[in-house]
């Protein structure tokens, strides 16, 4: 039972480059989320999806894009990377829309933009 799988675990990008952070879950959860965590801060929501084909912006969506073509996959795209996007990125999924059973998180992608 893999849960939520994120790849890559680490990445260094140069300013202006682009990349896609991959996220896949095998629990058949409809709800999926992307958060970022900056040092000493809580997690901030970037984008979320309540089901395949449906996505919406969270609190800090600028510089990012997502797609949700299947229930399992929810990739996060960074276009024109900037130093402000240096962070740890967590993908999560939920059966209960974050209520009684919370989210299942992946292990994170540590991204550095130089």
């Amino acid at each position: 039972n893999a849960g939520v799988t994120q790849t890559p675990k680490f990445r260094i990008l140069k300013i202006g480059q682009s990349m896609t952070l991959q996220c896949a879950q095998d629990m058949n959860h409809n709800y999926m989320y992307w958060y970022r965590q900056d040092p000493g801060m809580g997690l901030k929501l970037i984008y979320y999806s309540v089901g395949a084909g449906i996505t919406d912006k969270g609190e800090v969506p600028n510089g990012y894009n997502v797609s949700r073509s299947t229930t399992e996959d929810f990739p996060l795209r960074l276009e024109l990377a900037a130093p402000s996007q240096t962070s740890v990125y967590f993908c999560a999924s939920s059966y209960s829309a974050g209520g009684t059973y919370g989210y299942t998180f992946g292990s994170g992608t540590r991204l550095t933009v130089v």
Partner: protein
């Protein structure tokens, strides 16, 4: 504006004693509150949740208390163990009306708990 706040960045407790982690919120429109635990280089792990219609929920060594009038919740860990040393995040889910809940959570900044043997 920080809607969910954890005002203590760190807490140190002796093994076997009680750990109390605190969280304050400013928005009355939250319907669920949750606690997560995070070890270094791992994703957060769900610990326990409480509905806004309850004032206490217990799961083994973990108990969450909710004081709605004070807009305050706390996580009690009894007895504390060295393996409990981690960062603890509280989170809150906003109520949704109409087409269903989105499940968006707002997180506090985290409290680092150290349990000394």
């Amino acid at each position: 504006d920080q809607q969910v706040k954890q005002n203590s960045p760190s807490l140190s407790v002796q093994e076997g004693r009680i750990s109390i982690l605190n969280c304050d919120y400013t928005n009355s429109m939250f319907d669920y509150f949750l606690w997560y635990k995070k070890y270094p280089a791992e994703g957060p792990t769900f610990l326990i949740s409480i509905s806004s219609i309850k004032d206490k929920n217990e799961d083994g060594r973990f108990t969450v208390f909710l004081n709605k009038s004070a807009k305050h919740l706390s996580l009690h860990i009894v007895p504390s163990q060295p393996g409990d040393s981690a960062v603890y995040f509280c989170a809150a889910r906003a109520k949704s009306y109409g087409s269903g809940n989105t499940g968006k959570l707002i997180f506090g900044q985290g409290t680092t708990l150290q349990v000394k043997p």
